[in-house]
């Protein structure tokens, strides 16, 4: 598949006002509001365009399998620092960046948007454009690249992207500690305020797991400071993968799954259901049958927001409604990038 074919498909769709559903491997079909439109499959536009480990940058096409990309990086002892969830072996880089979801390392390393340096996009008129680049520091023009991260394909097709990579940590160790929820929230925040190499936290049912990554000496020193029982390396790795990929038993069951983001030191949400806490308290997964408005009001009261992540019924809208001023800016930007309103319509918010 060529870039011209992708451009042509979008140009045609715009001319005929046919909604398009941009889709890679489909591993994140569940995310956001229900996808609509004719599928434009991006998997044919794949491959790593350039990778120079000493420049700490990899450039790849949207259809590149995330697993393939990660294994190439692994071969050079490097990694995607934001540890993206795949949610399936078919996950692509394009879908990863368009969804903008980050894994356990997010609280310490940063989010997807923190590492995307540049993109080649096809907008809703089929025009090919380039923003950002392959260098770490670049302030020429507005940061369109970062704004597109997490935009769920509603503004443009992300055809190619350059991503900053980092060396894989030399050592890693996972610890488990018994701790009630309120104390765990405080402990995670207190640790985060100290120079400790914590790269993952997960609290669940009175047990707090902590992952340390870095140099041997740093990990050893941090283990002393935190205490708890160490997991076997393979066990630790499997645990964090299960948290990241939602294969951990916590995530099973028919109740809707909410992804609630809060200021990290915020107290417990106080909604009935089961909770798993990550990101030093900044991310609270909630399995609950409580009504959408109750969950969102509780999140709002704590200066946070609640996303209906996985649910049979998403009529409440996957994402928290925006205040009017931001909703207006969203509509204006949508009109700039996709005037015919054909790209993933309604996937993020219902259009006006």
């Amino acid at each position: 598949m060529t870039l011209e074919q992708l451009q042509e498909a979008i140009r045609d769709a715009a001319a005929n006002a046919t909604p398009l559903r941009l889709r890679g491997g489909g591993s994140k079909d569940f995310y956001g509001n229900e996808p609509r439109g004719t599928i434009l499959d991006t998997r044919g536009y794949a491959g790593i365009v350039s990778y120079e480990p000493t420049e700490l940058v990899v450039t790849a096409r949207c259809g590149t399998l995330l697993s393939e990309l990660e294994s190439v990086l692994d071969g050079e002892a490097q990694c995607l620092p934001f540890e993206p969830p795949h949610f399936g072996p078919e996950a692509t880089l394009g879908g990863c960046v368009a969804a903008g979801l980050s894994g356990p390392r997010r609280a310490s390393a940063g989010a997807v948007r923190d590492f995307v340096l540049g993109t080649k996009i096809v907008d809703g008129r089929g025009r090919l454009m380039s923003f950002g680049g392959q260098v770490m520091k670049n302030v020429a023009g507005y940061d369109v690249t970062r704004m597109l991260v997490g935009s769920l394909g509603t503004l443009a097709l992300l055809a190619e992207m350059s991503v900053k990579v980092l060396p894989r940590p030399a050592a890693e160790l996972s610890l488990k500690l018994e701790m009630p929820l309120e104390r765990a929230i405080e402990a995670m925040n207190r640790w985060a305020a100290r120079p400790l190499p914590i790269t993952g936290t997960a609290w669940l049912e009175g047990e707090l797991a902590v992952r340390l990554s870095g140099s041997q000496v740093a990990v050893r020193a941090a283990r002393e400071a935190i205490g708890g029982a160490a997991l076997e390396p393979a066990q630790g790795e499997a645990f964090w993968r299960a948290i990241r990929e939602h294969t951990h038993p916590f995530f099973s069951g028919p109740e809707p799954l909410w992804r609630i983001a809060l200021p990290s030191a915020a107290r417990a949400l106080g909604i009935n259901g089961r909770t798993l806490i990550e990101w030093s308290g900044g991310l609270r997964w909630l399995k609950s049958t409580a009504g959408a408005s109750a969950v969102r009001d509780a999140a709002r009261a704590l200066q946070g927001h609640a996303t209906l992540f996985r649910a049979a019924d998403k009529s409440a809208g996957a994402f928290m409604p925006l205040p009017p001023a931001l909703a207006r800016l969203h509509n204006e930007l949508k009109a700039v990038f996709d005037p015919a309103s054909i790209l993933n319509p309604g996937r993020m918010y219902a259009e006006r």
């Binding site: 770490m136 670049n138 302030v139 023009g141 507005y142 925040n189 985060a192 120079p195 740093a218 927001h305």
Partner: protein, 491 residues
């Protein structure tokens, strides 16, 4: 005729602002407005029609509403330390100084955030956080003077970006107003705010999308200890390769800086940092963390640099020595200011592997234009600051300097880099934007601008050139031999 009209316009605008601002907060006499005629890029100067100095968010809102209603351009300004003319005032508009927004509203040591007003100095945030063992990471060289509001506008960096990121990585939320006085809040203390990442769009937008009145920043734990290794190289290209070797070894130092011989000579006279004046280039490599971790990393870096051909190495043995090693790098700009009547600081970023080629090109330009150009370089992230020395009082030197700079910036684009890594486009590099971006990309920027500011009143004419301007500059990138919009006038 313009003079007469603008005098009456000035009175009209000042009167409108006086309706809600005290007399001392509305300046229009030349002696009062003169200090605002330029920012850190002093080659461009213009007297603002009126300077407004609001103290409250409500006053900012009313200034913007009034200007919007009267069609008066508004240019926001922090400390005026910017190096690209982003705060160059409009001759027919208002210079909106945010200098009175100086309060630190909240430091939360548990959640590790600070909420500050935009006029708070960058260094003051770290000072306020220090009692809790925390700091604000981005450290532009002007950090004792520059404000966080200006940092947000420019997406400022510093010498520790490679490990700790730029402003965009360290700001969680901003609050402000659009040009029509509508309040907006972008980002939040909670991660991953819903909707498009408008915070990322606003950071580095050079004051063209909104006026920021409050900023929430992330605070990081202070590293327990830090050390600097200074290494000498007989050849600039080898020094560049050594940087790649450090990265290849899986090491991300807290700072990795390079200076060439003309730069070390300039600073050594000025601060006596103890640099090796024989070396063609020196590298400064900082490691931070727990003491054992720092020892370990410094030892590994030493090994790598040894193999890469370092001719001399010395590591800081005390905090005082570490600061002395850095003092030279941090004083590079003022030091150069002492050996030359004027200097012009560039800010291109390049892929590190092209460093040798770009430095050779700069040397050729020195010969071509008959001007000297020491180089300081954020080597870790490829951000180059060549400093062209000139004398503005000599006929033609400023002009030659600008041509020199334009050629270097175009070279940065050619090797896959960018015309600005951290100083912004402002007015200074606006013509080079025509080369870095294609017409449809520039048009998209202009459309994004219109989404926030339909009348184009907020910092007009900065950062993004119109296609007409590019046509005039004569360097528009023509895609497939066709100019877009052939119907547009070109002049």
């Amino acid at each position: 005729m313009g003079e007469v009209l603008s005098a009456s316009r000035q009175r009209e605008v000042a009167r409108a602002l006086r309706a809600f601002l005290p007399a001392r907060a509305v300046l229009y006499d030349e002696e009062d407005t003169r200090p605002y005629e330029c920012d850190g890029l002093t080659a461009y100067r213009r007297l603002p029609m009126v300077v407004a100095l609001p103290e409250t968010e409500e006053q900012v809102r009313r200034v913007l509403q009034s200007c919007s209603a009267m069609g008066v351009p508004v240019v926001p300004r922090g400390a005026g330390t910017g190096l690209s003319g982003g705060a160059l005032p409009p001759g027919d508009g208002i210079l909106l100084s945010m200098a009175k927004f100086m309060r630190i509203l909240r430091v939360d040591p548990l959640a590790r955030v600070a909420v500050v007003q935009p006029g708070v100095r960058n260094a003051a945030i770290s000072e306020a956080a220090a009692p809790f063992g925390l700091y604000y990471a981005p450290d532009p060289s002007s950090q004792i003077a520059c404000t966080i509001g200006g940092n947000v506008a420019e997406n400022s960096g510093g010498v520790h970006c490679l490990k700790y990121g730029l402003t965009v990585h360290n700001v969680l939320r901003v609050r402000g107003f659009t040009i029509d006085g509508e309040p907006v809040e972008l980002g939040s203390e909670a991660p991953d705010s819903p909707g498009y990442d408008l915070l990322a769009l606003a950071i580095g937008s050079e004051g063209m999308l909104l006026v920021v009145t409050e900023v929430t920043v992330k605070l990081l734990p202070q590293p327990q200890s830090a050390k600097v290794l200074m290494a000498s190289f007989d050849d600039v290209e080898n020094a560049g390769r050594a940087v790649a070797d450090v990265i290849a070894a899986g090491i991300i130092p807290a700072g990795l800086e390079m200076m060439d011989r003309p730069a070390t000579h300039a600073v050594e006279q000025f601060v006596g940092a103890g640099y090796d004046l024989e070396a063609a280039a020196i590298l400064l490599c900082e490691s931070d963390g727990a003491p054992e971790e720092v020892e370990d990393e410094i030892a590994r870096v030493k090994e790598v640099l040894q193999r890469s051909g370092a001719s001399r190495m010395s590591e800081s043995r005390s905090e005082a020595e570490r600061l002395r090693f850095w003092s030279g790098r941090k004083a590079a700009f003022p030091a150069v200011g002492r050996i030359s009547p004027d200097y012009y600081c560039m800010d291109g970023t390049i892929p590190r592997k092209r460093l040798g080629e770009v430095l050779n090109f700069i040397a050729q330009m020195e010969a071509k234009y008959g001007l000297r150009c020491p180089n300081v370089f954020h080597a870790g992230d490829g951000n180059l600051h060549p400093l062209i020395l000139f004398d503005a009082n000599k006929p033609d030197e400023l002009h030659r300097t600008e041509q020199f700079a334009a050629e270097v910036l175009e070279k940065c684009i050619e090797v896959g880099g960018t015309i600005t890594g951290e100083h912004g486009v402002g007015i200074e590099k606006i013509n080079q934007m025509c080369i870095q971006f294609r017409p449809e990309e520039l048009e998209l920027f202009l459309a994004v601008k219109r989404a926030f500011d339909p009348a184009g009143l907020l910092n007009p004419g900065k950062a993004v050139p119109t296609l007409a301007r590019c046509a005039e500059y004569g360097r528009m990138r023509v895609h497939r031999g066709k100019l877009p919009h052939p119907e547009l006038p070109r002049f």
